[in-house]
Structures are given as structure tokens and as C-alpha cells.
């Protein structure tokens, strides 16, 4: 069932995820080069899809393509009775994707969106900032410096609407998860877990070390797209004071 194709540079694997989606795997490592291939396929499918295509979901090293087997079948041959003729929608979609992948233009150094996220670090918004600093024998302002100095690539959005899986956090502040998770973390909270950092778009339980909070809304259901961040964006955290945080909240800035 697994299909492997060679696009001239690397092997790309395709495998079924149930009977109506296919996962296209570009590699096994998290790195910006594989991310560019993921983004290339997603951008292509968003611009030029095929009959029966529903949506695609980018991840660190893969793109999962969801399709409607009946419509895919119809696209193949409208006059053929699907039950009489043994035609596999999976194989049809594989062939379509193969064609796309072989001809996918090398992603040019695409202009990446840079999204600045203002963060009020520490205090009641970042109850674990001191613990993170102690863990690394740093001062809290050094932790804030390191965290806000970085440029983070949004590899994928998942777990919750608008929740970014970011790459590029400095090892200097990587901190293990808390021993016992909190029952509720307010929306907008910025946290660290191991080498990961991110922002909780909606209130949820979680075990991350909480270092600050942003006044921005990461999930806006009435807008299109409904999230502040998208796969491929670059995120920069900008430290702000409590007064600035409140001004943002009251939309005076």
C-alpha cells in the first residue's frame, strides 16, 4: 500500500490514513528544508486542487490530503459503476499526487510573513518565569531576552485552533514540563516545554512552564483565515509592559 516516489532529490512516501486520506511524507526530520517541501505541496493544492479534494493538513514533515472517495471515483470515469469496476480512489489520488510532486516547482525563497507577538512576561501572566530562570541559573530578564531574541518558524498548527508548533527555541532556556499539569491555562499564555515554545490560543489544561501572556487573539472564528498564525509564518515575541498589555486589551494601541 505504501508508495515511494523519487522526485530527483529525495524519496517521498505516500501511505493511506484510513480510506479517505493520504499522508505524503517528505522525510523524518524537523528542518526548514523539509518544511519548504511541505509548504510547496500545500500551496499547490490550495491553488489548484483536484475533483474530490477536501483539504490538506501540513505537519512537521508531511502533508495529509483528505478526499471524497466517491467524487474522486466520478472524476475518473463518470460512466463506470464503481461497484462493478474495481477502481480504487486511493490509487487515483496517489497517481494525481505523484504527478503534482514530480512537477512541483522548487519553492522559491518565498516571502515569509513575520508576525510580531507582544508578550507581557512574568508576574501573574508568567508564574513560572522565575522557575525557568532558576533552572538555568539565569536572571528572569536574561530568559526574556533569549526568548524574545529568537525567530521562530511555524511548522504546523494543531492541538487547538491556532496553536502553533514553533521551531527554533534556544537550548539555553529549554525547560522540562511541570510535574503536575495545571487544570486551566488562560488563553494567550506563552509557555515553554522542553525545546518547544508556543502560545495557548484557547483556555486548556496543560503542563507547560508559563512565562508570559499576549493580549493578541490567536483564534478569531469570524475572520478568514480564522487564526493569527499559519504554517510557514515567522514569529517574533516582543516584550511589553503591563500597561502596554492593558492598552492592547482595551484596543487603545
Amino acid at each position: 500500500m505504501l508508495q515511494t516516489i523519487f522526485d530527483g532529490k529525495t524519496n517521498i512516501e505516500m501511505k493511506p490514513i484510513g480510506d479517505s486520506s493520504i499522508c505524503v511524507q517528505f522525510g523524518t526530520e524537523i528542518n526548514p528544508e523539509i518544511h519548504r517541501k511541505v509548504k510547496g505541496l500545500v500551496d499547490h493544492l490550495d491553488k489548484k486542487s483536484f475533483q474530490g479534494f477536501i483539504e490538506c493538513v501540513p505537519a512537521f514533515t508531511s502533508v495529509t490530503v483528505f478526499y471524497h472517495p466517491l467524487l474522486v471515483h466520478h472524476s475518473y470515469k463518470k460512466d463506470v459503476n464503481p461497484v462493478e469496476k474495481n477502481i480504487s480512489p486511493y490509487k487515483i489520488v496517489c497517481a494525481i499526487l505523484k504527478e503534482i510532486l514530480m512537477n512541483l516547482e522548487e519553492m522559491k525563497e518565498a516571502k515569509q510573513r513575520i508576525v510580531e507577538i507582544p508578550v507581557c512576561y512574568g508576574g501573574e501572566f508568567g508564574p513560572d518565569l522565575e522557575a525557568v530562570a532558576e533552572y538555568h541559573h539565569l536572571s528572569t530578564s536574561e530568559v526574556v531576552d533569549i526568548h524574545s531574541k529568537g525567530e521562530y518558524l511555524v511548522y504546523m498548527i494543531g492541538f487547538a485552533p491556532g496553536f502553533p508548533y514553533l521551531g527554533g527555541m534556544s537550548e539555553e532556556i529549554a525547560t522540562p514540563r511541570r510535574h503536575s499539569p495545571r487544570l486551566s491555562i488562560p488563553e494567550g499564555t506563552v509557555g515553554i516545554a522542553g525545546m518547544q515554545t508556543g502560545v495557548y490560543p484557547i483556555s486548556t489544561p496543560g503542563g507547560w512552564q508559563l512565562i508570559g501572556r499576549t493580549p493578541l487573539e490567536l483564534f478569531c472564528p469570524n475572520e478568514n483565515p480564522p487564526t493569527l498564525l499559519q504554517s510557514g509564518d515567522i514569529v517574533k515575541f516582543v516584550p511589553i509592559s503591563l500597561e502596554e498589555y492593558q492598552a492592547y486589551k482595551e484596543k487603545t494601541i
Binding site: S21, F66, P82, A160, P161, I202
Partner: protein
């Protein structure tokens, strides 16, 4: 035209066929757990098959009809009654203003769908009227139904008008009246007794131990009480990996069976997260998802392996049958003498 919620029961929410196209933003699909029953409920009252309906769970839901309405109830048999009299399912039912429809007890299955002719007047959020409970959007104010909520319905579709008038004239002093014709649910609601759940191998199937692979197909699993619209957690033989490994999060689908470190498999359902990172041992064939949706905690489940091609053919056959059903329901609604 409206329906008032007197009691929501265990859980009642508005669901259509789901919110597609936004998974890349982390927005879950939601939608009816048993999409086949939802589609048929809508077809029976002259709606488009993907209209939003009330998904009633297990028991206790009670609805007051504030106008004369034409509805249908499909899915599990949760003993719907009006004034103590059983309301037949899988057919159009005319209900008189002032009647109270109550779901008393769970006889078979666990979810019923109540569709109203014309559909419910509910705004779309991101192309869907489904309730995304955790995200607080869609459906009725982004939440489960509560006592006192009023659900408005749209105008009757033209094609259902003569059936509506006909039933109305026959109803006389009764509180409701149903057509004699109905959809035989046997074709669309198999129970666990007559069929095992058919699955295809998951991406990481080969990385489980030999004995876990065979236990997965040879032994029963029980659905635990920690199950909901997001997923069913199962208990049974503990499934072990040959050696543990880290999997990067990637997209999961409706029916993916993933196995966390504790070895107890979870079937991901309508409210699943968009991405997951646990090894996937199998995927439920799309045709069997409505069967899963009707199972309750405490019930046993058995998995049977089929090939991807078999799953696809079953699916295409089912869709063909749905197409035929659509035509015959339309014929009954428009052409045949309704009673």
C-alpha cells in the same frame, strides 16, 4: 416556527456533516457522530442531506413544539414519546403545537437525530452549523443545548408542503401522526452483534509486537466510560510496541485508532483533534463509523481486518445505496399517497 428545549438530557447539540477546510488552522471537524442517520433524517423531511439537526445522546432530552412542525427521528432508539405514546422513527412525523417530545430510555444505540422540515435557522461559522463544543463556536451559541433555548426553523421546502397538509388533515385530535411508509433502518444501523468493526491496518501496525497484532484482532475490547464525541477509550489486552519510538505529530482522521503509552487503544471520532502523535494501529472503515457512533460505554467491540480496496468498495456501495434511498424517499414525498 420553533422548538423549546425543556430539558437537554445528557447531551444534545446541533450537528451537521462537519466543518471542513479549516483543519490546517487546528479547527476540528465536529459534525454528527452517525452521519448516515443524520443524512436520512434530513432526506425524510425534504431537506438537503447535510442540514443541521439535533443530536440527542442516550436519554433525558425533552422538547416542546411551539408550532405545528414536520420532523423525523433516526439513529438509535432512545424511546421517543409524546404524551406517553411512542413516536415512530425513520419516517416523517407531523407534530402538533403544544406537544412535548421526550426521549425516555436507551433501547438500542446511543444517539438519535431530530431533523425538522426546512432545517434549523442557525448561522454558519466557517461553512458549518456544527457545534464545536471546546472551541465554543457554531451550533446554538457554540454550546450544548440548555433548558430554555429556543430553536427556530426555516420555512417548509415546497416539495414537502402537500405531505405536510395531508398529515395535518389526518391528525385531527391526536398530538402527532406519522406516515405508514418508513426507511428500514436494518440497512443502515447494524448492531455490534451482527457485525464486527472492519478496519484497515494503520501506518504503524507493523511496529507492534506479534502478539499485540494478533490480540488486536482476536480479542474483545470494551468501551470505557471515559469516552465521548472526541474519542472512545477502550480497555482490553494492552497493546505493546516492539520498541518505543517518538512519532512526530501529524494529521489524524475520523476512525483512526491510536495507542498511547498505556497500551489502551483510542478510536478518534467526530470531535478529534486535528493532529496526533501516537502510533496508529488501524483505521475504522468509513462505512462502519455510524456503527461505532451508536455504541455505549460498557459494550464490547471486535475488530476485523479488511484491505483498503475492500473498505473503498464497501464505501462506494453504501453511497450508491444512499443515492437510491434518496430517490425513493423523494418519490414517496412527492408522488405517493402519503398515508
Amino acid at each position: 416556527m420553533s422548538i423549546k428545549v425543556i430539558r437537554p438530557g445528557l447531551l444534545a447539540s446541533m450537528q451537521d456533516l462537519g466543518r471542513y477546510g479549516f483543519q490546517k488552522y487546528g479547527v476540528i471537524i465536529s459534525g454528527a457522530m452517525d452521519s448516515a442517520s443524520l443524512r436520512i433524517a434530513n432526506l425524510l423531511v425534504g431537506n438537503e442531506e447535510g442540514e443541521v439537526a439535533i443530536e440527542v445522546t442516550l436519554m433525558g432530552t425533552s422538547l416542546l413544539f411551539e408550532e405545528d412542525l414536520l420532523i423525523s427521528i433516526t439513529g438509535g432508539d432512545l424511546s421517543p414519546v409524546i404524551d406517553g405514546e411512542a413516536v415512530p422513527q425513520w419516517r416523517p412525523v407531523y407534530i402538533k403545537k403544544g406537544s412535548v417530545l421526550q426521549f425516555k430510555a436507551c433501547k438500542s444505540g446511543s444517539r438519535s437525530y431530530v431533523a425538522v422540515s426546512g432545517g434549523f435557522a442557525i448561522p454558519e461559522v466557517m461553512n458549518s452549523k456544527s457545534t464545536y463544543l471546546r472551541g465554543g463556536i457554531g451550533g446554538y451559541e457554540g454550546r450544548a443545548l440548555q433548558t430554555g433555548d429556543t430553536l427556530h426553523s426555516n420555512h417548509l421546502p415546497q416539495k414537502i408542503n402537500s405531505l405536510f397538509q395531508h398529515l395535518k388533515s389526518k391528525c385531527q385530535s391526536r398530538l402527532f401522526i406519522a406516515t405508514a411508509w418508513y426507511v428500514n433502518p436494518v440497512h443502515f444501523t447494524k448492531t455490534i452483534q451482527d457485525s464486527m468493526i472492519r478496519v484497515i491496518r494503520g501506518a504503524e501496525f507493523d511496529r507492534f509486537t506479534q502478539s499485540s497484532q494478533s490480540q488486536f484482532f482476536d480479542q474483545n475490547f470494551q468501551i470505557t466510560p471515559k469516552s465521548d464525541r472526541m474519542g472512545y477509550r477502550m480497555s482490553g489486552p494492552l497493546l505493546e510496541l516492539e520498541e518505543s519510538f517518538e512519532l512526530l505529530s501529524e494529521a489524524v482522521s475520523h476512525g483512526t485508532i491510536q495507542v498511547p503509552q498505556d497500551g489502551n487503544p483510542i478510536i478518534l471520532l467526530a470531535d478529534r483533534q486535528t493532529t496526533g502523535g501516537y502510533p496508529r494501529i488501524a483505521h475504522v472503515a468509513t462505512v462502519d463509523l455510524p456503527i461505532i457512533a451508536q455504541l455505549k460505554p460498557g459494550e464490547n467491540i471486535r475488530f476485523k481486518e479488511i484491505t483498503l480496496e475492500e473498505a473503498e468498495q464497501l464505501y462506494l456501495k453504501e453511497e450508491q445505496r444512499m443515492e437510491e434511498l434518496k430517490v425513493s424517499i423523494l418519490f414517496k414525498i412527492e408522488k405517493e399517497s402519503p398515508l
